[in-house]
């Protein structure tokens, strides 16, 4: 009887067919997130933001009684040859450096993306002109251009340095964006959006940006590092920030000096902080990029 019941025709959509789904995948997805990087970066950022309450010494003071001391309980990361407390400088300087890094990145990304999109969407003639202009600007060695503009801009502040660095380093990003946009702009969804009457900012924001974001992610993230490095090069050249504003960049030039004096703490600690920070940022950027589903390789 029961058997026959099974063979009663009930037709389509009689009930939903489901199979129990194991929940393990949620864990796996969470695991793939760069939790560790986020944590480390979070701690670093928090430390820099709350530098005042963490520091146990004044970052730009010279503790002349404690020259060149290795890390100890009073000076957690030791002191340099002028008696400055490296621990405090790290946090305080991190604030300046990260500010310059991030805002430089923001500026160059904004300019680069906007310029690149505009050029990519423009008719051939305008596009050509815009690209040649960018090429012209980028043919002047970056440092040289920064130097010239900084000297016109007057006394450097973190903001002006970030602005100048950002304002002079967007060209290669613009070029990448442009070539991406050139590829995307012929795609049909852009045509659709256009034929529906979408404005340029709308197309840029909803259609172009999300689609080339992954392509420029690495360039954007690594521009944070190049902004920090450029600032340190400027410090090295003596054109950087006023002395009372310490940054990781000025710390790096300190470590150059200390190379022969076996003060490993002066050499290593700032470098480690910079590299770790950048690595974390890269990891997170990489995740953001990878989060967009990519087909698997055909190889």
């Amino acid at each position: 009887m029961a058997e026959n019941e099974d063979f009663v025709i009930v037709g389509a959509a009689y009930k939903k067919q489901v199979r129990p789904v194991s929940e393990s995948s949620v864990w796996r997805r969470l695991w793939k997130r760069p939790l560790f990087s986020l944590l480390v970066l979070g701690i670093l950022l928090l430390g820099c933001i709350m530098a005042e309450s963490i520091m146990n010494h004044h970052p730009s003071d010279f503790y002349l009684a404690n020259l060149n001391e290795p890390p100890n309980t009073e000076f957690y990361f030791g002191t340099d040859s002028l008696g400055r407390d490296i621990f405090s400088i790290i946090w305080y300087g991190g604030r300046v450096s990260l500010f310059i890094g991030f805002s430089g990145m923001a500026i160059l990304t904004c300019i680069g993306v906007f310029y690149g999109c505009l050029s990519g969407m423009a008719p051939a003639f305008l596009d050509n002109m815009m690209m040649r202009t960018a090429e012209m600007l980028s043919s002047i060695p970056n440092l040289l251009l920064i130097l010239l503009i900084l000297s016109i801009a007057g006394k450097p502040t973190p903001i002006s340095i970030a602005a100048v660095i950002g304002g002079t380093s967007w060209m290669s990003l613009a070029r990448i964006v442009r070539s991406e946009v050139r590829q995307i702009r012929a795609s049909e969804y852009i045509l659709v959006a256009k034929s529906m009457g979408a404005s340029f900012p709308r197309i840029l924001y909803y259609h172009l940006l999300p689609n080339f974001l992954s392509a420029i992610m690495f360039v954007v993230v690594s521009s944070i590092s190049s902004c920090i490095m450029l600032e340190s090069t400027l410090s090295f050249l003596g054109l950087g920030l006023p002395v009372e504003v310490v940054s990781w960049g000025s710390m790096l030039s300190l470590s150059n000096k200390a190379l022969l004096t076996n003060s490993w703490w002066v050499i290593l600690i700032p470098g480690v902080f910079i590299v770790v920070t950048l690595l974390c940022i890269t990891n997170i950027g990489h995740y953001l990029r990878g989060a967009v589903n990519r087909r698997s390789s055909n190889l």
Partner: protein
């Protein structure tokens, strides 16, 4: 050494010395005033001995007539330029005329020669120099290298290619110049005096201090001037020797008396010295390689007057003195008077790292004492507006050089607008008087007056630390060096290089 291939007598390899040098743009004694190369390629009528006193060089002898203010120099015979041409009195006249009359020349030293009214050459071996005013330091100034007339006459001294292919009469001959890389000189075997023993000197251009230290370590250099910190790494290493030269190079904060703050507060200049722990500055910024400074002639062996007021570190004394002047500490810990803060800026040029450090440490010490000194890093000095400058000066030789032009009212180097009638008087007297005893007396007085009303807040004298390989023998620390420790090669003819 990098070229061990040339053979030489046992135990001695005088072939090539590698010397770490800064970059050169020109090699010309009247354009480069403190550089090593012009010193050894060119020679002057006079030269300095170990003590820094002028003695004859190209001149065989000289006489001075105080009434007519005339020097008559007899020149050495048979001296040859490196290109083989004979050296004449004309060359001397040409050089001095260039210094005094050239329209295109813009060198910082021309002021030293402005008393020369005429130069004549009665014959090939005699030069007659007539002065318009007495100048006791003239013999010092005549140590300037003599330029060859036959190569430079009618040319623009500033831009002529001679500056890159110098021909002199000195101990070493210019051989080649690889731009940015090295300048090579070899010994002048026709030299009229003691011929140097080291065949060849390579001036390796290594501008970066750390790179220089590393090259020294890696054996690419034989002798190099290093900063105090880097020198530490070589001390006690048997593979290296360290020469600690005294230098007449000092650092001070020089107030600009043209700005209102200092015009109103001249008295502060001296007192501020009490607030600076100079020993600590030397220890930290100079790695302990230096001495605290109290006067511009402090390292002058003959003319120094140690018995002047010193303004050594004494915060209590500073407090009393400054409060005696009516300053009262404000709520922020900075002194105030009549609503004005005890606050001024100090300018430092961006490329001078050790000065920046000094300024920063000094600023911190001042702040602790209640003085607000702001450090400004600048690219270009503007003496019209700056409030004070972290100055570096040196008076290694004649006391006139490095005092008169700095402290006399309206003198060419007196950018700070310092003016003190008594100082002027003694400096003038010392300049006019050729008699050493009288001069000494005048300089003693000058130093006393200057100490009472100082022009600078003196900080420290630097040391010049040269690191060399042990096989290099001969450098003598007897001589007090000048700015940037220039002058090690003053006795280059005595240097020898052992085998590596």
């Amino acid at each position: 050494g990098s070229n061990p291939q040339t053979s030489s007598p046992k135990g001695v390899d005088n072939s090539t010395l590698a010397f770490a040098s800064g970059d050169y743009t020109t090699i010309n004694p009247i354009l480069n005033t403190h550089d090593e190369l012009p010193d050894i390629i060119f020679s002057g009528l006079m030269k300095y001995d170990a003590k820094g006193n002028p003695v004859t060089d190209l001149a065989e002898s000289y006489t001075y007539d105080a009434n007519t203010l005339t020097y008559i120099f007899k020149l050495r015979q048979g001296v040859k330029w490196h290109d083989g041409a004979a050296f004449h009195a004309d060359d001397v006249k040409f050089t001095l005329d260039t210094l005094t009359q050239s329209k295109t020349l813009a060198a910082s030293i021309t002021d030293n020669y402005k008393e020369i009214s005429s130069v004549t050459t009665p014959d090939e071996n005699t030069v007659v120099i007539r002065l318009s005013k007495p100048n006791a330091a003239m013999l010092n100034y005549l140590t300037i290298g003599i330029l060859p007339r036959h190569l430079l006459e009618g040319k623009d001294i500033m831009t002529d290619s001679f500056n890159q292919h110098p021909i002199g009469t000195g101990r070493y001959k210019f051989v080649s110049w690889e731009v940015g890389q090295s300048v090579i000189v070899e010994k002048n075997t026709d030299y009229y005096d003691k011929i140097p023993q080291i065949d060849k000197i390579v001036f390796k251009i290594v501008p970066d201090e750390n790179a220089r230290a590393l090259q020294m370590k890696s054996g690419d250099l034989d002798i190099a001037w290093l900063n105090a910190q880097n020198t530490e790494g070589f001390r006690g290493d048997k593979n290296y020797q360290v020469f600690d030269f005294k230098t007449a190079d000092y650092r001070a904060i020089s107030p600009n008396f043209a700005v209102p703050f200092w015009q109103n507060n001249k008295e502060l200049v001296g007192i501020l010295g009490y607030a600076l722990d100079k020993e600590a500055i030397v220890k930290s910024t100079l790695g302990g390689r230096g001495v605290s400074a109290y006067g511009p002639l402090q390292l002058n062996a003959e003319y120094n007057n140690p018995n002047v007021r010193h303004y050594d570190y004494d915060p209590e004394k500073f407090r009393q003195a400054v409060e005696a002047l009516g300053w009262i500490k404000g709520a922020d810990g900075i002194y105030e008077k009549d609503g004005q803060k005890l606050s001024f800026g100090v300018d430092v040029r961006e490329n001078e790292e050790e000065r920046i450090d000094i300024a920063n440490v000094a600023a911190q010490q001042f702040r602790a004492a209640g003085v607000d000194m702001k450090v400004n890093i600048i690219q270009k000095l503007n003496w019209k507006t700056l409030e004070s400058f972290l100055i570096g000066e040196a008076a290694p030789f004649d006391p006139d050089n490095g005092t008169y032009d700095l402290f006399a009212t309206g003198a060419s180097g007196n950018y700070t607008h310092y003016s003190n009638a008594e100082v002027d008087k003694y400096l003038q007297a010392a300049r006019m008087d050729v008699d050493p005893a009288a001069r000494k007396d005048a300089y003693d007085k000058f130093q006393e007056v200057l100490a009472k009303e100082p022009a600078y807040i003196m900080i420290a004298y630097l040391e010049g630390n040269y690191v060399a390989v042990p096989r290099l023998k001969g450098p003598s620390t007897e001589r007090v060096l000048g700015h940037h420790a220039v002058g090690v090669m003053w006795n280059i003819e005595d240097w020898t290089l052992g085998n590596s």
